[in-house]
């Protein structure tokens, strides 16, 4: 499982880095950014899904890998 932010849609609401601080951070202007390579470590799946589901701009994709 991997998270990705569409920087064209992100407006810096910050829901992702509030809800999943292990996966997302903010840049100098408050826009969300994926920490590291975006691979969701075990135990962080729920946080990742909440970040996706709460993004007002629908800017986060969750790529489910088989």
């Amino acid at each position: 499982m991997k998270v990705h932010i569409d920087s064209g849609r992100c407006q810096g609401h910050g829901r992702c880095y509030d809800l999943a601080p292990g996966l997302f951070g903010d840049d100098d202007e408050g826009y969300g950014q994926v920490l590291g390579n975006g691979i969701v470590p075990p135990g962080e799946e729920k946080a990742a899904r909440l970040a996706v589901a709460n993004c007002p701009e629908r800017a986060i994709d969750l790529l489910e890998e088989t």
Binding site: H13, Y17, D28, G30, N54
Partner: protein, 424 residues
Amino acid sequence: MAVDNRFGPEYRDADDDSALFIRNEIITGPVSDWATDFSHLEPEWAADPYPIQDDLRQRCPIAHTGRFGGGWLPVRYADVAAIAYDTDRFSSRAIIMNNARPPREIAPVGGSPPISSDPPFHHEARKLLLPAFTRSAISRLEPATRAFCDSLIDAFDGRDVVDAAQEYAQHIPVRVIADMLGFPPEDGPQFREFVADLLEGINLPTDERVERVHRLFQYLLAQVDEHLARPRDDLTSYLLDVELGGHKLDPDHVVGTMALLLIAGIDTTWSAIGASLWHLASAPADRARLVAEPGLLPIAMEELLRAYAPVTMARLVTQDMHWGGVDMKADDWILLSFPAANRDPAQFDRAGQVIIDREVNRHAAFGLGIHRCLGSHLARMELRVALQAWLDRIPVFGLADPAAVTWAAGQIRGPRTLPLRIRD
């Protein structure tokens, strides 16, 4: 160092552009039919707009009014989102629906950038401000905000009933924004007058509104003088110093942004804190749960922001068009109701109920698209700290007199009188 002469007599004595505003007849009084004659300034809307919005969502869903020179009110989440994202056909050159429209030439900058700006200028003006309003920049203000909330509660000592709107919620954003702009904290009562002038006196004669806005700008120019004489580390000195495209900002840009920062953060956050306390005072089970589970506050707060979103924006239609099943004309208003979007059952399960532990909550209380509230991290910090301080210190409280609660009409909705019993 060169003298900064941007704010000299040539600037101060110039005519303002209010003569160029397109004015319309002012229509007040009871609404005949909310689908064809809506007005967000009438007491029925202020007291409880949600049943009106729910009804319109069933039967319109885009309501019209001939007041304010003509305007539209979408109440579905999908329509509100589509308009917020379509900055070509819906301009932000005016964002408070009233009886005077600024001329089209004022775009894309507008009177108070960046909230009044359209692309491409909008992005440049917004970029200047974003670093000061990130979550980490705002977190540095948290200890002082908590201490201020505690001092307000200390002053309740010995009393059974307090007005949580006027004696608590109101003071918090005023103090915080005065500190950020570097304005004297004792000027707070004046700020609240400026806010009332701009956001609440909508149906006053236009000349009187112009005069009130003039008073605000005189105050801001005095602050400019003070900061030019004694620069310091605050947002006013920053705006006076910062460059855009290799030049310092136009004086109108500096003062317009100062006006925005002063006005936008006060009524809004005051309303969010007040509405949250009103809900918790009215819903003892939710209050008790938050006291027992303080860790739930971040989730609960988002639900209170969804259900009682304080802020409605406005847009101006840029061209005649058929949109969403209605015929819009250029310069028609759009009353862009994020509160109505937040209660659309097509978007939210049990949209009309407060679900205090709602985990999935894609609400639009801070807007959508490029105009996402610049101060959202500040507002969230203030709301969280204000509720934490209150619940820590006053875990048991309730409405002292439900009939005495009053709500602001207009585009910013929240309690303006909120008597709470804080001791048995």
